[in-house]
């Protein structure tokens, strides 16, 4: 659709397209007409840029050039066609039509409809940058750009969603990231045919094959994590209106690590990482081990513990397996309720959880105290991980372990453990096995798996992520 000579025709075209209440149009003496959506535009900006420019006009002969040169706005472009005019309007642009001109001027007059950069509530930090991504796409890019001022930091923009027309950006550092992978992701995202992309979760599902419960990419709100990943050769996907950013590839070890690991003393972090790894196995195996010890393999319980365990079981109506399963589920209900409920009712849930379910259930003889302890240690250990997908994956495998232990005791648990490890090893993301660098082993990367070397000794980028492995030159030895 070409732009008509008459201003009124163009305005009518827009009105036909969408005559909603927030569409504001104005025609000034049949010569200049403009249209914008007041819901996404800022009135102040329009008055500043447009009305000031019009009022200062002196030469009315060549209105188009005059206006184009006199609008004090850095984000100004020219439209030839009326096809994607509504995309501009919905993005907060003001469209200016001029009499006898087949071109329209588009001026950015966007209103900031976001909450601003605030601290992340899902990924808290003790030490380190506290800002987090927001729903505003340029802000998100800005948060990354201000950390990496390299001109090689590139973003490929794509427009996905037939109705939502959401901007999706693939970010990477040219020269570090594997460009084949960037191309692969780009073509995969380009193929997405859907009406709307609401959140990064949508993109994620189009990229991942649903053959495992484990997350194959990191979802984060933290710019520092995104930047350190970019510098290691990873690729990020940002979606407009979503504060969550995808980092690819997400390997198992990335979920054990935290960006904070590099802001604290190396030896202390080694201990923390060890703790996280222990927590992983505790939350995975403890209920299953408890069930197999109590129902099949009593002979390996220490003598002194045996009698007290047997005394606790006395008078409990359910079998041990059912007892554990019930309480594992009860905890999940509590957690889910706590997540979904508004913060005001949160304290009620904790009172119900702690007092009624913990204390009273034991007193009523429904459950033995040791089961409460088992479920508590299991649930606390699972919260060590920040990635919600990882937590869910571990939770699902925990139930599999419990079922295995119910059927065959310790033998069942170990059979399930074999299957678990085989599953974990066979996952691949972007052609990289999930357990890299543990297996297949990249010995050079082992400085930074559980034991973290001082940063000055981490001279190389991971070989499996990038060909350009040189991270730093030689640093002089010295200390205070």
């Amino acid at each position: 659709m070409k732009i008509a000579n008459k201003v009124k025709d163009n305005i009518d075209y827009i009105k036909n397209l969408n005559n909603s209440s927030d569409l504001i149009t104005r025609i000034i003496s049949n010569k200049i007409g403009y249209a914008f959506l007041e819901s996404v535009s800022s009135d102040d900006k329009i008055s500043n840029f447009l009305n000031k420019a019009i009022s200062r006009l002196e030469n009315f002969n060549n209105l188009y050039d005059e206006l184009k040169n006199h609008i004090y706005n850095s984000n100004l472009s020219i439209l030839d066609k009326l096809d994607d005019v509504f995309y501009y309007l919905a993005n907060g642009f003001t469209i200016i039509f001029i009499h006898n001109s087949t071109k329209a001027i588009v001026v950015e007059t966007r209103a900031h409809l976001d909450r601003g950069v605030v601290e992340s509530s899902v990924e808290p930090v003790i030490r380190g940058p506290k800002d987090s991504f927001t729903e505003n796409h340029p802000t998100n890019i800005g948060l990354i750009r201000k950390r990496i001022k390299d001109h090689n930091l590139l973003f490929q923009d794509l427009k996905i969603g037939t109705r939502s027309q959401t901007k999706v950006s693939i970010g990477y550092i040219n020269g570090i990231a594997n460009l084949d992978n960037v191309q692969r992701i780009n073509s995969l995202i380009r193929k997405i045919n859907i009406d709307a992309i609401i959140d990064t979760g949508y993109i994620r599902e189009f990229l991942e094959k649903e053959n495992t419960v484990f997350p194959k990419m990191i979802s984060t709100e933290r710019p520092d994590l995104v930047c350190s990943s970019l510098l290691n050769g990873k690729i990020i996907i940002m979606v407009e209106n979503s504060p969550t950013i995808l980092v690819l590839p997400g390997l198992f070890i990335d979920f054990i690590h935290s960006p904070e690991d590099y802001y604290q003393k190396p030896l202390n972090i080694t201990f923390n990482r060890l703790l996280r790894l222990i927590c992983f196995f505790v939350t995975l195996l403890v209920p299953a081990l408890y069930i197999s010890l109590m129902t099949y393999n009593q002979e390996i319980i220490p003598d002194e513990l045996l009698v007290s365990l047997a005394a606790q079981r006395e008078g409990i109506p359910f079998p041990t397996g059912l007892e554990v399963l019930i309480f594992v589920i009860v905890f999940e209900i509590l957690r889910e309720a706590d997540l979904r409920s508004p913060k005001i009712t949160g304290s009620a849930i904790s009172i119900v959880g702690a007092l009624i379910l913990g204390d009273a259930a034991v007193a009523a003889g429904l459950v033995s105290p040791i089961v409460i302890i088992i479920v508590a240690i299991t649930s606390i250990s699972e919260l060590v991980f920040y990635d919600i997908d990882m937590i869910s994956a571990v939770r699902e495998w925990r139930v599999i372990f419990i079922i295995a232990s119910l059927l065959m005791g310790l033998i069942g648990v170990f059979v399930a453990l074999f299957i678990f490890i085989i599953r974990l090893v066979s996952i691949e993301t972007l052609g990289i096995p999930y357990l890299t660098p543990i297996t297949p082993d990249y010995i050079k990367q082992w400085k930074d798996i559980i034991y973290r070397m001082p940063i000055r000794k981490l001279k190389d980028r991971p070989k499996f992520l990038t060909k350009n492995t040189k991270r730093m030159g030689s640093n002089e030895k010295g200390s205070i």
Partner: protein, 365 residues
Amino acid sequence: MKKVLFSLILSFILTGCFNYNELNDYAIVTSLAIDYKKDNYMVSLLISNSSKESNAEKKNIIYSGKGKTIYEALKDIDLISPKKIYLGHLSSVIISESSAKKGLYDTFELLLEDPQISKNFYIALAKDTEALEILKADTALTNFPSQYIAKNIESSNNITGSIDSIDFNSLLHQLVDEKNNPVINGFKLVKNNNKKYIKLDTLGIFDNDKLIGWASEDESKGINIINNKVDKMYSSLKCTNDNIIINIDQLKSTLTVKNNTTYINITGRSNITEKTCNINKNKIKELTNNKIKKYVNKAIILGQNNQIDLFGIKNIYYQKYHNKYKNIKNWNRYYQKNKFSVYVNVDIKNNLKNNIERIANEKNY
């Protein structure tokens, strides 16, 4: 792939919870006593009471059953007990004198067969009393009273040197080997403040699997020293009219055989802990060595009198002089004629003066 997965899942489910047992359905047996009376075995089980309201008196329950064999006796108990008898945590077995005289093989048959039983429980004899009485003795000082017999054996070790804590596994090896004659400690009942307690006494000596008698305290010490079963012990020495107490540790004996003579070499170190008389250090050393030599000689004489090999000399012949070993027909006779040469060297590490004197000296500084 689907077939493999299907058969995997099936193999899980088809086991049908084999061997499934809730812990509270078990009667946890911690000690087992075997008596032999009038051609009948009487087996008694000490069971930990795992009910919630367990007061001090009811912490243990004893069930007894009778039968021609131990299995029958155990099944007799199964009829009494409301819970399934669980022998997986058995920590001690007490065998009465009469049953030990009949032979250990008969009693051990079942303990060996049962897959549930771990083979590392302690074995002890009941001396001058029935085995059941040992289980009935009063218990104190332990939170977990049904295990007190095992605890008693563990804690008594390395005090006087007359105690040899022997577990089922090593006893079995000695029995099967046939080149060793086992020794097992006996429990005695003692009265202390109107309560009956158990106390480890001397060793019972066995000819193969049959009890033939009891060693005296000195003899027991000698046997244990030669067999390297004592690491630490105390000994009291007599000087003029007072006593000196020395603590010996790192006791080590080595046996070598040459020309029908067995050389026993004993080394160790000792500390003087109590000394109330003035006596030369060398003199104390001489007294210590003589004392140990006395124990050892007594043990040797005991073995020779009963014609049994208490120290595994047969084993040394078997390993080093195999031809000679094969030619010896009547080993017990040969053992009786065997000569022994004992050499003891226990050093005194410190030379304590009389403690009172020492404090007086310190004041002078």
